[in-house]
Structure formats: C-alpha cells, structure tokens
C-alpha cells in the first residue's frame, strides 16, 4: 500500500515538473539601450569587450616572441601583412597561464590611434548586453588592471573598458635598450 502511495506521489511530482518545463519562456523584449559585446574566455573566467573597438578576431598563428619587452607583451603576429603586437591580459590580471595553442585567438582592438591584439583562450561570440544590466565592478578587485574593468553582468561576464585599455599609456612600450 505504501509503495503504491509513494509511486503515485512520485508520478504526480514528475508530471508537475514536466508541465513547468513545457512552458515557453517570455520573449517579451523591453526596449532598452544595448551595447554589443564580444565575449571571450581567459582561463576560467568570461570576459566581454565592446564590439565597436574590435576590428576582427584572428586565429593565433606564427607569432614571434620579442626580447626586451614586459612580460604582458606576448610578441608580434602577422595579420595579412600587418604586424601587430599581442598583449596577454592574463599577465595583467594575474590569471593562471594555460599555455598557447592553435585554439588560442587574438582579438584585434583598434581605435583611431592604437591597434593591437589581445590574447583570448577562446572566443565565444557576440551578444548585446543591456547597459542597466551592467553592474559596477566589485570593490574587492584592486591593483593592476582594476582600472580596465567597466563592470560585470548578471551572467558574471566581466566587461572590459576597451577605450581605457587602448588609451592607457602603460601599454605602450617605448624602451631604449642600452
């Protein structure tokens, strides 16, 4: 008797769950201001950067390491005849190194003054993000790289401020080797 009751209960619960899952999600899109971001992966974290500053995404191949540069400069790559430097943000954000491979991508950022590549472990794609969904970066993040952060979305995507990165003087390497 008890087993019958139990199985009836279980059936009831399962039916309720299937009904809930069968419901369509609300597709009501509220007209809000969006920015288009390109999402990529650095180590285990997901980062986003505004697509306006992205020229293109390129596969990392045939890169040349440079001597006498800071550690965050990975080297230079040849993108269809154009020589661009590649910056490894993981060095800046103190993220663990995963090693380089064919799957690594270079996101080429540009504005009217600067043009360089940022190393990404994987590029996830582009998507629009509502501006009011972007929250301020957590105060716990301090130190180097804190000024490059713009905010964080509800999906825990860290939005980088591409403008600041492009305009930062520290990234420009101009050292004289004696």
């Amino acid at each position: 008797m008890k087993e019958d009751q139990m199985s009836q209960k279980t059936d009831a619960i399962l039916k309720e769950r299937s009904r809930a899952l069968a419901k369509e999600q609300d597709r009501t899109v509220v007209d809000r201001s969006f920015i288009e971001i390109t999402e990529f992966r650095l180590a285990a974290e997901t980062y986003g950067i505004e697509s306006l500053f992205v020229r293109e995404v390129y596969q990392l191949k045939d890169f040349t390491p440079l001597p006498g540069v800071p550690s965050f400069v990975l080297g230079i790559v040849n993108v269809r005849g154009q020589i661009l430097s590649v910056v490894d943000l993981k060095k800046i954000f103190n993220l663990p190194d995963k090693g380089l491979g064919e799957l690594n991508k270079v996101i080429i950022l540009h504005n009217d003054r600067m043009e360089f590549g940022v190393l990404a472990d994987a590029v996830l794609g582009t998507r629009p993000v509502a501006l009011d969904a972007i929250q301020a970066p957590p105060v716990t993040v301090t130190g180097i790289g804190a000024e490059y952060l713009k905010g964080i979305t509800g999906e825990r995507t860290v939005i980088l401020d591409a403008k600041k990165i492009l305009e930062d003087e520290k990234i420009i390497v101009n050292e004289q080797v004696a």
């Binding site: 288009e36 390109t38 697509s51 306006l52 992205v54 020229r55 293109e56 995404v57 390129y58 596969q59 799957l103 991508k105 590029v123 794609g125 582009t126």
Partner: protein, 536 residues
C-alpha cells in the same frame, strides 16, 4: 751353603768311604805286617825244626852205623843211607832259609863242614867194617874223634837255635806291637769315623729335613684346600730351593687356577641361570610361535583366497585397460582434429586482427578528416564572430546580417559539436578497435596456447594410450603372477605345516634343553660350593 743336596749327600758318603778306606788301608797294612811277622816267626820255627831234624837224622845215621858196626849186617845201614840224603836236603833247605842272616849262613857252613867230617868218619868206619873186620873198624872208630865232632855239632846247633830263639823273641815283640797298633787304629779310626759321619749326617739331615718339613706342612695345608699361605723364598739355589720355588709357583698357579675356576664357576652359574631363563623364554616363545604359526597358516589361506580374487580383478582391469586403450586412440584422433581446428581458428584470428588493424587505420584517417572538419567549424565560427562584429559596426543596417551571422555561428557550433561527437565516437571506436586488436592478439595467443595444449593433450592421450597398453600388459602379468601366487601360497601352506611340526619338535627339544639347563645350573651351584672350599 751353595752346594746341592746331592753334593751334600755325596759329600757325606764320600767322607764315610774315605774314613773306611783309611781305616781299611791302615788295617790292611797293619795285618800285612802282622802276617809277615808271623811268617818270619814260622820261618824261625821252620829253621829250628829243620836244624833239629838234621841233628836227629845225624843221630839216626850214627845209630845205623853203630848197628852195622856191631852186627855187620847191611840192614842196619838202611837208616844211614836214608838219613844221609835227608841231611843233605835239610842242609840245603837251611841254607836257603837263612839267606837273610849271614851269621847263621856262616854257622850253617861250619855245621855242614862238621857234618861232612862226621859223615866221613862214619863212612870210614863202615868201609873198614865191610872190608876188614870189626876190630879195625873199632880201631878206626876209636881213633876218630867222632864224639868230639858230635859235640861240636851239638854246640853249633845250640847256637843256631839260640840265635833263632833270640830272633823269635825280637820278632814276637814286633808282632805284638804291630798287632796292638792295628787294634788301636781300627778301634779309634772307627770311633772317629762314626763321630764324623754322624755329625755330617745330622748336619745334612737338618739342612734337608727342615725345609722339607716346612714344605710338607704347606703341602698338607694346600691339600686341605688352604692356599692362603705366603712364604718368601729363602734364596736357596739347591734342589730344596728349586723345590720351594716350584712349590710356590705351584701354589701361585693353583691360586690363579682356583680364582679362574671360581670366576668360571660364577660365570657358569650365571650363564646357566641365563640359559635357564632363556630356555624358559624360548620354550614359552615356542608355544607362542606355535599359535603364531597356526594364525599364519590361516592368514596364508586368506591371502590365497584374496590372491584368487585379485587375479579375477586383474583380469577385469586388463579388459578395462584394453577398452581404455581403444578409447584413448579415438581421443587421440579427436585431439588431432581439434588441433587442426585450432590452426584454422588461428588463421581466422589472424585475418580478424588484420581487419581490425585496417579498421583502426581507417578510423585514424577519419580522425584526420574530423580534425579538418573541426578546424573548418572553428574558422566558420570565427568568421561568424567577425561577421557579427562587422554587422554590429554597421548598426541598424547590419541587424539582418547579424542574424545571418548568428545562424552561421550556430551552424558552426553545431558542426563543431557534431565533429566533437564524431571524434568521441571515433575515439570510442578506436579504443574498441585497440581492445579488439588486443583481444584478437590474446585470442591468437589463446589459440596458440590451445594448439599447444591440444598437442599436449594429444601427447598426454598418446602417453595414456601407451600407459593403458602397458597397464593391460601389466594386468596380464598380474593375472599370471597372481596365479603363481596362488600356487606359492599353497606351497607356503604346506611349508607352514612343516614349520608347525618343526615348532612342536622344537618345543619338545626346548623342554629337554630346559631340563639340561637346570642340571647345568645345579652343577654350577655344586662347583661353586666345591670351589668355595678353597681359601685363596
């Protein structure tokens, strides 16, 4: 005292002989001188007699002459003629007798002359009487000094007699002296010799008897069985010493012999006891033997029956072994077929393994294709992203393019997922293929092992067949030998019967031996009692 007893006794006897010889010789010489003296005395008497005879003959002649003269008859002349010869003979004898005395010789010569003178006068008277007559003869007779001559002759004879008597006196005293000397010599010599001999005898007897007495006392003690005396030898080297030492050695050897006999008797006693015990045991053992033999006899009968049974069983075994041989031959054939089948399986397995290897290689080429598809999907994705970026940059006009780009991206994602699935499947396939390769390898190994094992099984079955053949032969032999055993068991039964009889005889003999051992034991006890009489 280094002399031997013989020398001592000889010395004593020699002493006696010497004493006797001395006494005898001196007596001999004394007697000899006495005899000589007596002979001389006789000589003297002879001379005296002869002189007296010659004078009487002369007187006879004178008487005859006077008769003739008176008568003239010749018959009266007969004494004259007789005596004339006798006188001459007497004178001659006298001369011979008195050769040692010159005085007497002289006197005899004078006497002879006087006698011749007398005889001439007598003869003259006789001649005259015969030729003439009485008167002339008487004249002549008267004229002749016949009486004077006769007196002279008488004187001469008296002188001779006196001389001889003096000599006789002298010689008789000599004879007396020598006789006395001889008597003394004999008496004293015998006394002295007796004394000396008795002294020597006493000494010798003491010297010999004393130790002999000691020895005889010891000998009588020994005779009564007491051998416990202990005498040190006195160091004599004569017969007594030798006898003493020999006696001591005899006592010593008797002691050792008695000791040996005592030991031997003791041993004899104990041995007899042991023999008695042993014979008693043997007697009882013989009785046990008899019962054991009867048991053995029944056991032999049982064994005989069992042997017959085993003979039958061995026959059955022989039949079974022959059947087993046939079965094992067919088993050998089956194993041979198995081996051939296994070889075919091995060939099949080899081809399966090659097929799977080819499959694996093709899977790898599929992997390469999948990789290139993945790469293409990745690049499509990148293109989609770039297109989306370009669309975003184009703003409102790019919205539709952004949707297309999104769709391309989704397609790329899907193809990527598909390739991932393909790769996963391919990996699984490759893993399975590897596992299959491994399995086929193991399978071929197993087949190899199976081939080997089937070969071994064939060999084993062959050996089994041989063994079963041997077993069949052995069983046949067992049948034969068990029949022989039956025969042997019968013989053993007969032999056991004989043994039983022998055991009965042995029991009787053992009874006798027991009695003999008892007698021996009693004899040992007796001997022990006899030996115990000896004091060692």
């Amino acid at each position: 005292m280094k002399w031997s007893v013989g020398i001592k006794i000889g010395f004593g006897f020699t002493l006696g002989i010497v004493a006797m010889a001395i006494i005898g010789i001196s007596s001999y010489f004394s007697l000899n001188s006495l005899i000589n003296a007596t002979k001389l005395l006789n000589h003297i008497y002879y001379v005296t007699n002869e002189v007296t005879a010659a004078f009487s003959e002369l007187q006879d002649m004178e008487i005859g002459e006077r008769g003739f003269l008176l008568t003239g008859e010749d018959s009266y002349l007969e004494p004259y003629t007789n005596s004339k010869n006798k006188i001459e003979a007497s004178l001659k004898t006298l001369r011979q007798l008195t050769l040692a005395l010159p005085v007497q010789q002289q006197r005899i010569a004078v006497l002879t002359g006087k006698i011749d003178e007398k005889l001439r006068s007598l003869n003259g008277a006789i001649v005259l009487r015969k030729e003439k007559d009485f008167e002339s003869a008487r004249q002549f007779f008267l004229s002749s000094k016949g009486k004077e001559i006769m007196d002279q002759i008488r004187v001469l004879i008296g002188e001779i007699k006196t001389e001889e008597n003096d000599l006789l006196l002298q010689r008789s005293s000599q004879v007396d002296a020598s006789a006395k000397y001889a008597k003394d010599l004999i008496v004293w010599g015998i006394l002295l010799a007796a004394l000396l001999l008795s002294l020597t005898g006493v000494m010798i007897s003491r010297n010999i008897t004393k130790p002999l007495n000691v020895l005889s006392a010891m000998a009588s003690r020994a005779a009564s069985g007491d051998l416990s005396m202990n005498i040190s030898p006195d160091g004599r080297s004569d017969e007594i010493g030798v006898l003493t030492q020999a006696f001591l050695r005899m006592i010593e050897s008797l002691r050792s012999i008695i000791a040996g006999i005592t030991d031997g008797v003791a041993m004899l006693g104990s041995s007899a006891s042991e023999i008695l015990a042993a014979t008693t045991q043997v007697a009882s053992g013989t009785a046990e033997n008899a019962s054991a033999i009867s048991e053995t006899t029944s056991t032999v009968e049982e064994v005989r029956q069992a042997t017959q049974l085993s003979s039958q069983k061995a026959k059955n075994v022989s039949d079974s072994a022959q059947r087993l041989e046939q079965v094992s031959r067919s088993g050998q054939k089956a194993v041979e077929e198995t081996r051939i089948g296994m070889s075919q399986i091995r060939a099949q397995m080899d081809s399966i393994a090659q097929t799977i290897v080819r499959l694996s290689e093709q899977g790898q080429s599929i992997g390469g294709i999948v990789a290139s598809v993945t790469d293409i999907a990745d690049q499509s994705n990148l293109l989609a992203v770039n297109a989306a970026i370009e669309a975003a940059r184009a703003g409102e006009q790019g919205k539709a393019f952004a949707v297309v780009a999104q769709e391309i991206k989704i397609l790329a994602e899907q193809s990527k997922q598909a390739t991932t699935q393909v790769r996963t499947i391919l990996n699984d396939v490759q893993k399975v293929a590897s596992a299959a390769v491994m399995a086929t390898e193991q399978g071929s190994k197993a087949v190899e092992a199976g081939v080997k094992q089937s070969a071994q099984a064939g060999e084993a079955i062959r050996v089994l067949a041989e063994s079963s053949t041997e077993a069949a032969q052995a069983a046949m032999q067992i049948v034969a030998s068990s029949q022989q055993q039956v025969v042997g068991m019968n013989q053993i039964g007969v032999a056991m019967e004989n043994v039983n009889q022998a055991g009965v005889q042995t029991a009787v003999s053992m009874k006798q031996a027991e009695t003999a051992a008892k007698d021996l034991h009693e004899l040992g006890q007796k001997l022990k009692g006899m030996v115990e009489q000896f004091k060692v």
